[in-house]
């Protein structure tokens, strides 16, 4: 099982803060986006179009990062902490 986390503006798009997903084999981010798109099409599209940052176990993911059972996958909109 993998854990999916959504932050800030993405929570309202995904309509959840956290989700869990059973995977039988390691999957790619593209494959994960296809799975998510089945229930939340807009979220799936944002992942495919690279409009969100993705971390795996709190490390930035790249296009070829493989997701394994037990991983924590987080979807992050652009950051805006600090102050101007």
């Amino acid at each position: 099982m993998i854990t999916l986390k959504y932050f800030a503006s993405l929570k309202s798009i995904a309509e959840k803060e956290e989700d869990h997903l059973d995977i039988e084999n390691p999957i790619t981010i593209d494959q994960l986006s296809d799975i998510i798109a089945k229930t939340v099409p807009k979220m799936g599209a944002m992942i495919r179009e690279k409009k969100v940052l993705i971390t795996i176990n709190q490390e930035m993911a790249s296009v070829d990062t493989i997701i394994h059972d037990g991983d924590e996958v987080a979807f992050l909109p652009p950051f805006s902490g600090g102050a101007k």
């Binding site: 800030a8 902490g81 102050a83």
Partner: protein
Amino acid sequence: MSTTTDAKIRIQLEDFSVTDEIEAMKKVSRNIGGITTFLGTGRELSKGENITKLNFEHYPKMAEKKLEEIREKAIKDFGIIDMSIIHRIGPIEIGENIVLIVAAGEHRKETFVACEWAIAELKRTTPIWKRETNSKGEVWVQDTP
């Protein structure tokens, strides 16, 4: 309400005292000859809209880890003695403290540079998000100037 602890990296709901944080930093080393601080506070006007309230959210553990990376790199790359970074989360009123960076060094020059670099790096790499409330409702801020 404010808190001061020995931790150099903190993400907290509570307010902090700038004076207390500077005094804590001064105790780190007798070789400190200059301290530069950056204090970010809640601003009322944003993109022409009057903001009534701010709310900050973070990705626990990852945000703290990024702030520690910034601190360690600032010390290493700029040759400062130490740095503390405190960022508040949760609801914040206009005028309240949001973020504090304290950079301490033997001389002022490296502390100015390290402090400016650290706040820019914080905004670029640390998973913290700001939600503004104005007369039209709530909006997540996504620009990172």
